[in-house]
Symmetry: C2
Subunit: 211 residues, 2 copies
């Protein structure tokens, strides 16, 4: 397998953490795609992923999975232990639900803020081959959304060790990457959010978080 | 189990089709939530789902799954046959990837267009308990995105029976709901897109599509 990554970017970090948690990251070829230099828009990479994004996981038969979501599904089926997506049907449903919610309301909101406000993103307010102009109001809305997401995050953690309970799951992965990504737009978990802060320390201390 | 639905809305239709495909829809209690009358914003429903959206699947132990994505995960684990999310690890990864892409670039783009342009959505450009003003430029961008998504759709189908190959999957469910939802903003699959039109006829003819 071959993993197309960008070590400084939030999106591929979600997949990279999952690969590390499944014990795969040291056994596969990792190809660094330099997003800051626009390498994802070069023909070589467009031939790998026409959506011009990382992560991409290329399987041994050449087929490619070009989203963190898809890579999570593949890894969970290929290497069931440790489970990252729940054990029982109810847990699987609840973990899938939670991870989706965190991606939509947290991770995507930051992208919306960053891509619609950063000077370097002018004309590229969305990923992909089509150029889209920035919409400043959307940038401001994204910031408001991520602030609200973080206000609610303490209650989402509650007294649990991890977001879905006793097991570390893809919900924790996406939330951890969301919290670190939010630093790019200078938004963070409230200092006095004790549950959220404890959770963040716990998940950040895992070896996979440093990969 | 109890299924909170809205028979006229696109989001719960994704979950409803999956419930029908798994043979469950006639055996569970269905609660109609009238979104047009704003029933989702009443305290009774806010107690069920604080995100104020349908679908919600309430399990027998009272736990609730409040997204199509979460409901797909639950159903696939609870009732493995017929599989809607792939059989092998590679298939599971590719189906998950495809469904995510269709949701992001298709389904979400229509929501973005509709909610930022329809008069009745003023002040509610996003679902949930926070009011957000409409951003007309975002409405226009959503329309452009869905047009481009449909331009590429014929190639996505190609010569395959279903989007992921021989099996009907959640990728077909989300794509079918996307095509029908797009009628609300008067965008459709190109008439001359032969593969796309053939696929649409095939999936629309399934009994689950009429539920």
């Amino acid at each position: 397998m071959k993993f197309y990554d960008c070590s400084t970017a939030p999106s591929p970090r979600r997949a990279r953490i999952a690969l590390a948690e499944k014990g795969l990251l040291d056994d596969i070829e990792v190809v660094e795609v330099n997003l800051r230099e626009g390498e994802q828009r070069k023909p070589e990479f467009a031939a790998v992923n026409p959506y011009l994004t990382v992560p991409v996981l290329e399987l041994d038969d050449g087929r490619r999975i070009a989203s963190s979501t898809g890579i999570f599904h593949f890894l969970e089926a290929a290497i069931p232990e440790p489970p990252l997506m729940g054990r029982t049907p109810a847990e699987k449903g609840l973990v899938g639900d939670l991870e989706w919610r965190i991606e939509m309301d947290g991770f995507m909101a930051i992208g919306e803020c960053l891509r619609n406000t950063a000077k370097g993103m002018a004309g590229r307010a969305l990923t992909g081959r089509h150029g889209y102009e920035q919409i400043p109001e959307l940038g401001a809305r994204g910031r408001l959304r991520i602030e609200r997401f973080f206000e609610d995050f303490d209650a989402l953690v509650g007294g649990k060790r991890f977001l879905a309970g006793d097991d570390f799951t893809i919900a924790d992965i996406t939330a951890l990457v969301t919290v670190d990504f939010a630093k790019w737009v200078k938004v963070g978990l409230p200092e006095d959010a004790a549950n959220a802060q404890r959770w963040y320390e716990t998940v950040s201390a895992r070896p996979s978080a440093a990969r």
